[in-house]
Symmetry: C2
Subunit: 467 residues, 2 copies
């Protein structure tokens, strides 16, 4: 795909659409910085222009002008992505949705909400909880990430195991197509059998098919009670195996998170929590149960204990206070940051059927031995979604750049052979793109490329991503 | 689209792929009968050939041959559809999936099941319940419909209000494309951010994009306890209004079904149940609560009663025995059959945000008065999904054919104006096709037609449906 460079004239015309104060020019090196990277490794790409439009009409005019002039446009939420989806790898325009940040309506009668994509996930969650309602998806970055980004990557988070991922809460979206048309994708209803499901096609398309400008979510009643416990295991694989067994006992926890010893140790140190672990504890499960009724949660907890007793577990910590619960969650949410602060790393977002987790974990360690890399694993074990943090440590740059990718390929091939795939909730973006052929066959890629071509005949929207 | 007629030579070649004993020729008038209709009104279309392949490989060979020769292929499940999706309106081949009827695996470790599309929904439900697992979607026709058809129409049913519709339980599918390629659409995982969501694109595409040959479902633990009540209202609109209020009280029932007085009366008579209703009872809600714990259900029921007391309700019947529960469900499930046995009718599968139900119901009655039609309304009120049965009664054939469609258009425009759409779970198929422009705009239709063209360049798969 050949793109054009932004001329000064075109730059002025684009800035004029939104008002110059909402454009960042490359001459503003400092202002530009923020838009050159996301949270993916240490990658940086300089766009030619950053635009911060206010609404769909402005975005439509921008898209038309860029389509006409074959200028790449990279949509961007909060830049918390972990696959490089918001990086302007072909230059051109970065289109930030930060000013589309209104919660337009919380409809308590219908348990629906209409929001703009630049609303921070946690802000939205708290706004609906204030009305007794619940929006469950909560990626670890929920304090800073945008809902639009969550849709683009089909984000999950710990509660997905009980409540499903972002896609399961989206009823309808307003989007601007790469050619500038503005359309809704569906209707504001819980069931829809009227034509193809454009809503679900756009979700998880990583900003390559359209720019989301409004979202209609469904909400559920807020479950006010919960119970959190941290369970130490003496064998990593038993922690993984316990996950399936808890479901088989008829319990659906609202979170079921796995952390290797290193993940906890590094994070405890990073946050200054000063956690003490017994020598022989190799991994932990963080288990949350939620619901309307505390008595029922205690009953469910009894059944969880019964399952855990069949494994070699240490002393179970049950969080008694809100503070203790928050500390446990802070621990879990900061594993990524802790690893990042420790070493250059790559994070692989593998996912397999949950009972295959022990096999995956064993395989990762074995591959690590052969390729001489250390990995810190944690993630949403209830979903079979294991985040594998490969830390550079004292690996040579040459091995890191040239040998490691072969090891990553082996990990991904293992996932696929177990019935899984290469990204559960981070997306393919830029960094997993070289591996897409491991997960998708030629027929699937042909169909996806055809869909891309249909929506974006000139390939200007978020080029260089997925495939 | 111009199609070719099946030559005797081609007929022989197609039959040879599967073995002649599994082909039905038009010379076999009796054998052909079953394949000329589904459950949609009294429509009949004669195919040129019926094929009953056994597996994806055979279907692939059939598709290649039909693609090459531009012969229409209409995939067919059990023929219980309500929008004419399985009717061979352009002749050609009807491809029945009745022999793809194996439950391949129920994976208790992963709470997944792999099945073929010709399995009857209820057979599958009972097979998983026997393992303590649950597949919630249960369309009224569950005793005879096929899972493949449920996917094609994105079927719902009463439990959707708590558990979601068919699409929410599908992880992965094996499909044969119109051009003959066989591919899986995704992976066997609960979260997937790896490329576009082909799985959800295919679900609800009404057999126009591919023939489903295997399905991987996710399952959940079976909730063993439930509580069913029938609540009479003196005003139809209050019954609708109560629906939203139950959710606002924090309760998510596992079913929340609305039935007008006529729906109950006709069905009670049809089934010989001999139900007696007070003169002034105009509508009923059938409410089901389910879960693991009976005490909790009673607590929830108390909260439901508190909501109901704020409305003008009659005596609430709580089903005490399994027999009573089954009778209430049988009543609900047979409304469609009862109406059908009473008069020629058309069923509209409208859906709106649930708090708009009273507005929709009032509007339907008002439109009915202007166009002189009687309607019997019932459906999944918890989802805002109202089935409007328009009965012919003594309407003239001319009015039925020529005037009524204008009234239906008004109903559909009303749905769309309320944030809803024209089909919640039956699909567009043949009979709603003339109205698709009310629900979908030109941009949406352009994209959908483009997707159809990509998957099926010669337009041979289920032509004449949706758009």
């Amino acid at each position: 795909m050949e793109f054009n460079i932004l001329t000064p004239e075109l730059t002025r015309a684009l800035a004029a659409i939104i008002g110059e104060e909402y454009a960042v020019l490359p001459t503003d090196a400092e202002g530009m910085q923020h838009y050159t990277h996301d949270e993916t490794e240490d990658l940086r790409y300089m766009p030619e222009l950053v635009l911060k439009p206010k609404n769909a009409a402005e975005i439509s005019r921008i898209m038309r002008l860029c389509h006409e002039n074959i200028i790449p446009v990279t949509p961007r939420g909060a830049g918390t992505g972990l696959s490089g989806g918001a990086l302007a790898v072909h230059g051109g325009v970065v289109l930030s949705t930060e000013r589309l940040n209104a919660i337009i309506q919380i409809d308590e009668q219908n348990l629906q909400a209409t929001v703009e994509p630049g609303v921070i996930t946690q802000v939205f969650q708290e706004a609906v909880i204030a009305r007794g309602l619940y929006y469950p998806p909560d990626p670890s970055s929920r304090g800073s990430c945008f809902l639009g980004g969550n849709l683009s990557e089909s984000s999950g988070g710990p509660r997905a195991v009980k409540y499903g991922v972002t896609k399961d809460y989206v009823l309808n979206m307003e989007v601007v197509l790469p050619t500038g048309e503005i359309t809704w994708t569906g209707a504001n209803v819980l069931k829809n059998a009227t034509g193809y499901n454009l809503t679900q096609l756009l979700i998880g398309s990583e900003g390559t098919l359209g720019v989301i400008t409004k979202i209609v979510f469904r909400l559920i009643p807020y479950p006010p009670q919960n119970l959190v416990m941290l369970v130490p295991f003496r064998k990593e694989e038993e922690a993984c195996a316990a996950v399936s067994r808890i479901f088989m006992a008829g319990i659906v926890p609202s979170a079921l998170e796995f952390m290797e010893r290193d993940a906890i140790e590094w994070t405890s140190r990073y946050l200054g929590l000063g956690m003490v672990m017994a020598e022989d504890e190799r991994a932990h499960l963080l288990i949350e149960l939620d619901g309307n009724d505390m008595d029922l949660l205690y009953k469910d907890a009894e059944r969880v204990y019964e399952v855990l007793e069949t494994f070699d577990v240490g002393e179970i910590l049950v969080a008694d206070t809100e503070k203790q619960k928050e500390d446990l969650w802070r621990l879990r949410r900061n594993v990524g940051h802790a690893v990042k602060s420790n070493s250059i790393y790559k994070e692989e977002d593998t996912v397999v059927p949950r009972a295959q987790l022990p096999v995956l974990l064993r395989g990762v360690k074995e591959i690590g031995e052969r390729y001489a890399f250390k990995s810190v694993c944690y993630g949403h074990a209830g979903d079979g979604n294991l985040h594998i943090n490969i830390v550079k440590g004292d690996m040579s740059d040459d091995d890191w750049d040239n040998k490691l990718p072969e090891g990553i390929k082996e990990i991904f091939r293992l996932c696929v052979s177990l019935g899984g795939t290469i990204s559960g909730e981070h997306g393919i973006g830029l960094v997993q793109r070289p591996y897409i052929g491991i997960a998708l066959n030629e027929v699937q890629l042909y169909l996806m490329r055809g869909i891309k071509q249909l929506f974006d005949p000139r390939g200007i929207l978020n080029p260089g991503k997925i495939f």
